[in-house]
């Protein structure tokens, strides 16, 4: 197979675009798709102060590299969860990567905030990943807000978004369907949230990382019992194989035709409160993260 742009031998085949690319043309393609996702959805511009949540996994490191190649003013934030082995491994990967590429990095330790994850797991009687996710989202947003970043980016890709959309649709979850998408506008103490990889699949992101030498394999979190939505992703991959381009279509049509309808339904929903303890938005009087903290302190 030959590269569509330069006719050299292709290294990557993209059935959803009926095309293939050599390594250097794939680089051009990938960066263009990132830019297009950012512009199409008005995610952010070069004037914004951008904070990127970096876990140490390939998606977030790959995105960090793409944003710095595209010359955005991006700073990385890594959250150290205090989990033996896996947190150290993730943190040192991120630190080494940012040092090597001269990227500004902040590290926030949940232990310092009274929330070491192993302790949380012992004390909270709920699936740890949902609690851990809540804590990470809270602190990513809070760090951005308190430090003057107006946009918070994450490495979610098209496959993550489509799997989430599929799950939300199966439950016809009106609130989530009204809010899902590549941009969540700022509101009160919520900074704007964006997903610059919304046009790129897991496969394309993995190719990008491979071609750019991002190969570090992290020690798995001892609490991970399989990534979220793995089952849905399998189903969707089968559909995509039968009709290439289906994932992108499902997502884009949702954004154009589905989301506005759910937003209209939710327009009457009561606005969020401010948490009585930390002041960050919450549907309850005290937010989930402050309640977990109280449980740990009790």
């Amino acid at each position: 197979m030959k590269c569509r742009r330069c006719s050299e031998l292709a290294q990557v085949r993209l059935p959803s675009h009926h095309t293939g690319f050599c390594a250097s043309c794939f680089e051009t393609y990938f960066l263009r798709q990132v830019e297009r996702g950012i512009h199409e959805h008005k995610q952010f511009s070069k004037e914004d102060r951008l904070l990127l949540a970096v876990s140490g996994g390939k998606d977030s490191l790959g995105l960090l590299l793409a944003l710095s190649k595209l010359e955005y003013d991006v700073t990385a934030l890594h959250i150290d969860l205090g989990i033996p082995v896996s947190s150290q491994s993730a943190r040192s990967t991120v630190e080494a990567y940012c040092a090597a590429h001269s990227i500004k990095l902040h590290v926030l330790e949940t232990t310092e905030k009274g929330l070491p994850i192993p302790e949380v797991k012992k004390r909270v009687n709920r699936p740890i990943c949902s609690v851990c996710g809540k804590i990470k989202r809270h602190w990513f947003n809070r760090f951005a807000y308190e430090n003057g970043y107006n946009v918070l980016a994450t490495g979610h890709n098209l496959d993550d978004e489509v799997a989430r959309l599929f799950a939300n649709t199966l439950r016809w979850d009106q609130a989530y369907l009204a809010g899902q998408g590549p941009v969540s506008p700022a509101e009160g103490r919520f900074v704007r949230k964006v997903k610059p990889l919304c046009r790129l699949t897991e496969y394309e992101t993995a190719v990008w990382c491979f071609l750019n030498g991002i190969e570090h394999v992290l020690a798995a979190c001892p609490y991970s019992a399989g990534a979220s939505f793995t089952g849905h992703k399998k189903l969707l991959a089968d559909l995509e194989e039968r009709s290439p381009g289906m994932k992108m279509q499902f997502y884009e049509h949702f954004l154009q035709r589905g989301k506005p309808a759910f937003q209209a339904i939710r327009a009457e929903a009561p606005p969020l409160n401010e948490c009585a303890r930390c002041g960050y938005p919450s549907s309850m009087e005290v937010c989930g993260v402050c309640r977990i903290k109280e449980q740990l302190e009790a």
Binding site: R13, Y203, T205, L218
Partner: protein, 65 residues
């Protein structure tokens, strides 16, 4: 021999000969967009020939955590 390493499990497979990457993927029951097929510093598209020897790595693209 064509030696194939499945990175996610560490499993090693050997094949006497493989016509193409597509044949390898079929043998392993994988879709072409589910894994990277790596030979040295190069990625192989499904139509590439493999032959009787070589070292190939299979890397799953699904991200963890």
């Amino acid at each position: 021999m064509v030696r194939v390493l499945i990175e996610s499990t560490g499993e090693q497979r050997e094949f006497r000969a493989l016509k193409s990457v597509t044949q390898l993927l079929n043998r392993l029951g994988l879709k072409s967009t589910e894994v990277l097929v790596i030979r040295g510093r190069e990625l192989l598209t499904p139509d590439r020939m493999i032959g009787h020897e070589g070292d190939i790595r299979i890397r799953h693209v699904v991200s963890r955590g």
